[in-house]
Amino acid sequence: MTSDITIMSTNLNKNILKNYSDYHVITEEFTEDDLLKYPKVIFYEVLDKKREEEIKELFSLLKEHHIDYINVTNNHEQVLLTDYLIIYDKEKVLIEGSTLEVLKQEKLLKRLGIALPFMVELSLLLQDYGLIKDIYLDYNSLENALWN
């Protein structure tokens, strides 16, 4: 099975890449052909300019070719695009696990300065108001839960 991971950190530093020395690090613009040469790739702050759909397509392509990938980012929306999330505090792993399980540790993440993805934060707030019971990641399900 291909592993797909997002790494966020309280302060991103390339030193964390030492823990993933078997991965090829991508820090600048790349082509699909560049990626397919390697069994494991790390995107280091390089996907931020891409739209979510483009990133999803890219990750699907990597999965199709059985390439493991890690996305290192400060963009909290991108964490939902992988199944596993690792949070570093400087150079130490602080929490890791399935993405939604890690995101449930809302208070700790906020204390670290890491925001929740918008749909997760909105769902949690709507839960506080008693309007919904679950976390909804897509607009259609949220709308159905709220109005139907």
């Binding site: 991103l12 300019k49 979510e52 400060n74 963009n75 906020k110 925001a115 918008f118 309007l131 709220l146």
Partner: protein
């Protein structure tokens, strides 16, 4: 109208474009000749020990902050990559600092980023540029034309989605305002 004229009118402008740090990464922070370095470091929450570090080993947030303080003596400050260099907490801190620089020290600031969400509660005008050409400008975060050039923030996307479904939600960039409006709508 040129960007300089826009700056004179607005003081702090958000620009959709790409930004590359131009600092010499072979240098140490203390070799950059930053005025009142100790005070400047304190202002951006950096420890004194950063002074002896080479720029090449700085973390992204440190690099951003050094880039910023290296320009504090200029009338027009251009900063970029806030969204990719800083975590949420640091972003909010720097946004407050930029507003203070404009409001209290009369600096003019251009913030370059690709993430429109960063400009919420920061700029009154967003400009899209390509090289030196101004392609588009708007004050409206819900302006569809803006998103021909960049990603739509989630809150904008959701409100537009709900309104297409006839839910009559107010256009807002504040999650708490959105919650209140949803609450009113479903109750």
């Amino acid at each position: 109208m040129e960007l300089k004229d826009i700056l004179n009118e607005y003081g702090l402008v958000g620009v959709i474009s790409t930004y590359k740090f131009t600092l010499d990464k072979e240098k140490r922070v203390k070799d950059l000749h930053i005025k009142n370095l100790d005070k400047a470091l304190k202002m951006v929450n950096l420890e004194e020990e950063v002074k002896d570090k080479y720029l090449s080993v700085l973390s992204l947030d440190e690099l951003f902050k050094i880039d910023l303080i290296s320009k504090l003596d200029k009338d027009i400050i251009i900063v970029g990559n806030l969204s990719s260099c800083l975590n949420y907490k640091e972003r909010e801190f720097i946004k407050k600092l930029l507003l203070k620089l404009v409001n209290s020290y009369h600096k003019k600031i251009i913030v370059i980023d690709n993430d429109v969400q960063l400009f919420f509660n920061l700029v009154k005008l967003i400009v899209v540029i390509n090289g030196k050409d101004i392609l588009y400008k708007t004050k409206d975060f819900y302006d569809d034309n803006l998103y021909k050039y960049t990603k739509v923030p989630k809150i904008v996307e959701l409100v537009k989605y709900l309104n297409k479904k006839g839910r009559r939600i107010q256009e807002t960039t504040d999650i708490y305002e959105l919650i209140k409006d949803i609450y009113r709508s479903v109750s």
